[in-house]
Amino acid sequence: MSTDTTISQRPTPPSYEVPKAIRYGALTVGFLVLVIFPLVFNNPTISTIGVFAMIFLMAVTGWNIFSGYTGYIALGHAVFFGIGQYATAMLASYWQIPPGWETFLLIPVSMFLAGLAAIPIGLIVLRVRKHTFIVLTIALMFIFQLFAYNLRGWTGGSQGLEVSQPPWDGSIFNLPYYYVGLFLAIIAIVTSFMIRRSKFGLSLLAIRDDEDRARSLGINTRNSKLTAFVISAIFLGAAGCMYAMFVGSVYPQFSFDPAFDLELSIMAFAGGLGTILGPSLGALIISGAQQYFLITFGGANVFLIVYGALFILILRLLPGGVVPAISDKWRSHVVRKEQRILDSELEGPAEAGAHK
């Protein structure tokens, strides 16, 4: 019972992390698979699934930088996704950008505008917490949807806007979108990784666990949350721009779509909310499955049933998500190994058991 028994008896505590070799090996394999995917599956139907997967990959990674790390579940990030889309459609026609490679230059512009919009929005919504925060973000998304419907002079109202598509051949049409999407998704993942291992990231996780406690330890919680919110919005802006360019049209109900945020959160939850790669894995599995089911069982909306069943299955079997389930398995593996060493040192499993 005494704490003195907890003082280190073995010099270094065991590491519960999956060894670097395995982690980096898996990452490299994953990266290579993503790079060669559209070259192997060059059927445009399949590579279209790939492009949407890349868009969701960067969006959910961005979403996770804020919601996953701070624990503030934002259900209005479609605002920034929509801003990215409308910025692309409006600026492409305003600046008369010819369809083709030049349109991709709108990506950084969309990112900038989404990030800029996130500052005042963040200052408002981050004043509240928990359920109020969630409700406020949803409300904000509908406000933006109403703007898109009603500011007809700029947004075209319910008619929407067109983004002219480049005259590329159908067989290679998807490739530029896929690789630019992959590049942006990797930037998002690297950013997420760098934040997670930084002092700033630790502050965000501290806010997730106990915001008031974090404040009393010298963390400027308001600035930390706002910074994460803006960074996250920037990647949603990029995703919106890619989406508008790829789909070629922008409508209020699809740009500021409540289902979009649900999809993001479902992907993040399935993969592992707040982990670096969990949401990415979730995005690849769920957006891939969703598109595949849409194509295979699309006729009578059967795909939604299959999609829902898959989601329930994941939540049932891996409640914390895929990545936490893997690290838990690894953790218990390490603990068992440690226990065996302790047992042999103490020459009596009963004593070792009492030690914990």
Binding site: M1, S2, T3, D4, T6, I7, S8, Q9, R10, P13, P14, S15, Y16, M194, I195, R197, S198, K199, F200, G201, L202, S203, L205, A206, R208, D209, D210, D212, R213, A214, R215, S216, L217, G218, I219, N220, T221
Partner: protein, 249 residues
């Protein structure tokens, strides 16, 4: 010399007067006890001193500087650390991550550097060793026992090397062995120059460890003095126990 002082603090919650013209001074280098019956305003005073509550009127000074309207993070950065009545740690982070949170960094670039710099790690491990939790450094903090969490909370405040530590009921729910351990740590840190202000109901603990004891009653200071004087003061006994029963009879 007064390190932390409050002057004429008033704090009302609706019709309840939590603090009424409360004036108190805590001496530098001392272990100060702060006692008083439930509802006498001790925790509210802690909240006011650490920036969690803004007083309706009055002033909080730290080393002669007015910190009345400072936010909790500014108060902590100035050198005032605190623990809470119910232990508050970061349950989903590991023990070692917990002890890194309080390490202060200035500027955006420094914030983006890795969370554990060598000097911070050394300090973190040192303070974990100080409270005897080194072996558990890689465990999620939420899996520690309540007593261990109290020690962890103590350890992560230590990392920032505060000038004064405000402990809100450190003995609550802690077994005697652990309490002795904690008391020893407090004394040891005090020798290095850290001032303590301890709110506590465990009189044996307070009287055994404190150099100076202040008593609060109904939102203001009732008495201040050495433990042995406070212990036998009739006004203190009355505040705790109510009017003497013999008088009633």
């Amino acid at each position: 010399m007064t390190l932390l002082g409050v002057e004429g603090i008033v704090k009302n919650y609706g019709g309840i007067q939590a603090l009424r013209n409360c004036t108190m001074n805590f001496q530098e280098g001392a272990i100060n006890g702060l006692i008083g019956p439930n509802g006498s305003g001790k925790t509210t005073l802690f909240n006011v001193m650490t920036g969690y509550e803004t007083p309706d009127s009055g002033k909080v000074t730290f080393r002669g500087k007015d910190i009345t309207n400072s936010t909790p993070d500014e108060v902590f950065a100035a050198g005032i650390g605190r623990t809470f009545q119910l232990t508050r740690i970061f349950p989903r982070l590991t023990v070692i991550e917990n002890v890194h949170i309080a390490a202060q960094r200035k500027g955006l670039v420094a914030q983006m550097r890795q969370w554990s710099q060598p000097d911070e790690r050394a300090r973190a491990l040192e303070s974990l060793d100080f409270v005897g939790l080194t072996k558990l450094s890689r465990e999620p903090a939420g899996s520690l026992s309540y007593g261990q969490q109290k020690l962890l909370e103590f350890a992560f405040i230590m990392v920032a090397e505060p000038k004064v530590m405000l402990l809100d009921e450190p003995a609550g729910g802690v077994n005697p062995t652990l309490l002795k351990h904690l008391g020893g740590r407090i004394k040891e840190l005090n020798k290095t120059g850290v001032t303590f202000i301890i709110v506590e109901h465990d009189m044996e603990f307070v009287m055994g460890i404190c150099d100076q004891v202040s008593v609060m009653h109904q939102g203001s200071a009732l008495l201040e003095g050495k433990p042995e004087i406070v212990r036998n003061d009739p006004a203190v006994l009355e505040a705790y126990l109510g009017t003497d029963m013999t008088e009633v009879n």
